[in-house]
Symmetry: D2
Subunit: 344 residues, 4 copies
């Protein structure tokens, strides 16, 4: 069985997923496309030589009976409406982050999905499919390092543009740690505090960079995450879990090792795209395989999207108040109860 | 366009490629299958739910007009005949190593292919698609380390079975280094010598293990390859190129890093399958893409298969004589002239 | 010229320094010894075959005209009185941490020393002599990583005894980071906050372990230090300085690298003594050399002892209040103005 | 007891040892000095403010009853005569490599020493005192990696001067591996073969660089040593022992780790002096301690000097013949029987 996708949003990430499904992965096919910029949709169909209908809007695309799954890669604020409509139509949804821009919006999707009686939605948090994070999770789940007590993490980009503001360090950047870290330790967040170190001279006016987030979980795990988006030297993701009996850390991204000019060196990526390239492929292949073979996606759920939204809000508030802010989630419905590690 | 494969040989590696093409990659489809064990072929079609014809033999399979490309994964000694027949029928061929068991056999394939006027055959030397080797090649081609002068390499397996004999260290094991190292430095081999160190107690009677191969190229690059197939600790591939201006080395296979029990450690693979899993996928996808988009494969050629066969013979002879043996190749036809780095 | 030492306190650390000066280093000699336990002093003279007078107390030892320098390795609360007396007698002093148990006590030493018109006192903060920290300081001072913005540090011991209480994580453990980190970045501390993660099951009742200290400097550098004294896996000191243009990190303690049992591993120390063994030697040799050749010690000063005392007090208070506590230092006298990197 | 040294040869290495004994180590004192260049000797005494007699020649120096030990740091060809004379006078000797320039010369020293009835001579092979090599030896002796089967080693210098000829790659460079490797595995050498790779453009006319030495031991361990003295990138010593149950490798020289400019890097030394600085110190301190406390040195013996000389000769012959050359040693006298690991 081939999973037939309708794509809502043919910008950069949309086109990448289209290319992925069309030319790299197995079992998926793009059959419909739409974009608020109609020409972008049309050009995409041509560029990738798709056998796909171009629809005027998401509603029409969702209504197409040939569309099994809706790939939502539009502008963030538009996600909620499209996802709710697709879910209400009983379609599967793969939605890039954010699921919705507010916790309430996410809850509306949660409600719509629960009404359908089965999971339909996967949110595009690809890190859970990165082999490094998967190995970390296995080490934790297999009690290799004992009970986790702390996590030291860092999210570094070489630089960002002038329109990247302080809050975007949460919404665009930290959000990936927000999703992957609670999954890693199987715990919910309780509070967050932000400390602003001395600002780098390379950050623009509207951005305080770097920032240090101190997040506590319900069980008392303390997580510190450095977010530094003008670190200059490269794109670098670090994650180290301190357990009662040992410590486990993400591997460096693999690179040949040079001995040259009095230095022993390995390359560090400059571009974030390469860092999680494999994870993106595995993520979408897993969505296709789970939906076609098991009838529902098994990746990050609408509830995970909700957690990310509420936590992001608290983090932004903590940036503004300088105080420890609570992260208050509604009770998790049984519908979204945690299962064992799902990927790989 | 979908590339329609006929598979000759449904043993372990055959089934893996079938699974790969059917469930992981894009653009390929299994439409025909055969095996000397007819039942194996039939079971394979069922197991992978293939929409494929089961043929009594390779001749019939090759004759099927629906078959665009023949995937040769039968017993080594049977390769030559199948490949020649497929080439003569104008079909594309992806052939697992060895292309043929003798240099002469390989030359017959070369001749048949040249008669067809275009490249049809790719040999399954997957290492050229490993990102580590690709990075090494780029470093060399981009003059990062200057002119290569030496290579230190090692090929280690945790253990081998009782029927693994001294010569298989060449034919089954070293052959991968034989292919990838001349590609890496863009040079042909000149001679080989074998030194037998003290034998490990863990090797069976018919196997001298480890072995050290000293290979020289036409331009004077000296390559030492340790082959150690009962090293016990894991599957480990090492390659370090010593250049006039620096040294480049393959990365270790990525693994999370643990601090535990007074040790800082990373995992080493036990099973060779995981080491080149990605390379296998990229290799077959590249075959599909090149054939369908460019009309010919761009991976290791029949001539590379010939080089591997002649070099393997010299290595086995050197094992027996203890002397430096010449590696005498026919002149490379223009048809197979080297181009720039082709993969990734 | 030989520097003649009188040693006050012949416990473990006292004996180690005696052995060091007598059998490993050049230019020093033990000529006098005292201890509140007279027998310990006598036994030490015998055990190390010293040609040294045993005095009944520190006053008598200090009064010996043969004593050039007093090595203070007694019980912490006794340090202040001995150091003040030695300084007032114009003797050089090498004093193990703490210089005094209170900021006020340290200031009394500072005053006594300033009255003498030259530096006489060095405090035993050996990390400044560790080649790793020295390299870090050089990288910072040479602008290799640009302006420091953050430091991530960790101080981990495999386990501690039952009488190790929560405050000792500051006074016995963190105090080394307190000294070395302000020296590293050439800045003074401003505030500290403590976060208590979930407690490890391996900590005794009176100890909350691990702890996370968030320290800010006057210029806004944010330092997080994990103190984890029952980490089980080994003795491990980590320090990573995040700068505007790059990051510099302490090396791992050197160890041979093993490939064994599917692991690539290096050893981690279990015992803290080996970690800074070389630093202890270099520290005392530097004290001897500086005093004999330049007329004053050039290592950590009385003022550094004062900084450590005041900062430790604030850290202990922050443990108790859970709030951000200010670190309020008196103005640094010109007498103790910072010079360039002094060691190596 | 202080060990009183007479120094024969006040060139660079002589002065370094004088400085070491005078200003860094414990228990030694320079009391006499001589050099063929009398002025050099006189200047050295002044420069290091030694309380030492300047003698016209080695004979006179040896005859001084105040001289307990003779430190031989003269020109290599002069070593034998001085060492024999010192030994016959019953003096202890620390002799820099070579002990003598020929095997026969070394045997004359061996005979003279055996006549004295106890070990008097230590040869300056400092690598045995390097903590990395010591850890390797412990790993081997403790059966951590099982029976050694192979060693892969490399000795790389950034560059050498114009008067460095092909044979000096043995006599000046490889000689350190020659000494340390047989000590490491507790075995004697049997044969050596040299392979010359393509020559680097950075080597002068009289030098073939790099070179690959293949050495076999009596028990069949195969050792390959790359000697590359114009490698440009730094001074780099590599040694990896392949055992039946695992592999152990020297650590890299410790360095802070940088993340900068898309590179993760650690420094590589340029100057060989820093690489074994600690080993030199430990070596001389061990000589002083062993002689004064145990009555004889416990480092590399005259017999080790003999092994180095005979093996060097065979290596130079193998450079010239291109053949496998035998390394034929006389039978080891019981006087020089191997004991357990002696250092550290």
């Amino acid at each position: 069985m081939t999973l037939r996708f309708g794509v809502v949003g043919t910008g950069a990430i949309g086109r990448e997923h289209i290319n992925r499904i069309t030319n790299k992965l197995s079992g998926g096919k793009i059959v419909a496309v739409t974009d608020v910029n109609h020409e972008s949709a049309t050009q995409t169909v041509e560029a990738y030589q798709l056998d796909a209908v171009v629809y005027p809007d998401d509603k029409a695309l969702i209504a197409d009976p040939n569309v099994d799954a809706v790939l939502v890669t539009s502008w963030g604020p538009a996600h909620e409406e499209t996802v709710v409509a697709a879910v209400e139509a009983g379609k599967y949804v793969f939605c890039e982050k954010p699921l919705a821009t507010t916790g309430e919006g996410c809850l509306r999707i949660v409600e719509a999905e629960m009404k359908q009686g089965k999971k339909l939605v996967q949110v595009g948090f690809m890190r859970r499919y990165d082999t490094g994070y998967v190995q970390l999770k296995q080490a934790i789940d297999n009690h290799v390092i004992g009970q986790p007590l702390m996590i030291h993490a860092a999210h570094r980009n070489p630089q960002v543009g002038e329109n990247y503001t302080t809050d975007m360090a949460v919404v665009d950047t930290l959000v990936h740690e927000i999703d992957v870290l609670h999954w890693l330790v199987g715990d919910d967040y309780k509070s967050v505090q932000v400390v602003f170190p001395r600002k780098t001279q390379f950050a623009h006016d509207k951005l305080h960079d770097p920032q240090l987030f101190i997040i506590e979980t319900q069980s008392g795990i303390v997580i510190d995450v450095e977010v530094f988006v003008n670190c200059k030297y490269g794109y670098d993701i670090q994650c180290e879990v301190i357990g009662e009996e040992g410590i486990a850390k993400l591997p460096e991204f693999p690179s040949i090792v040079l001995r040259k000019d009095e230095k022993l060196s390995a390359g560090i990526l400059n571009d974030w795209k390469y860092r999680f390239m494999d994870a993106y492929n595995i993520e979408i292949q897993d969505f296709i395989d789970s939906v076609t073979k098991k009838g529902e996606p098994q990746g990050p759920t609408s509830w995970d999207g909700y957690i990310a939204a509420v936590t992001s809000d608290a983090c932004v508030k903590a940036q503004q108040t300088g105080e420890k802010e609570l992260i208050e989630l509604q009770e998790r419905p049984d519908f979204y109860s945690e299962k064992k590690t799902q990927t790989v």
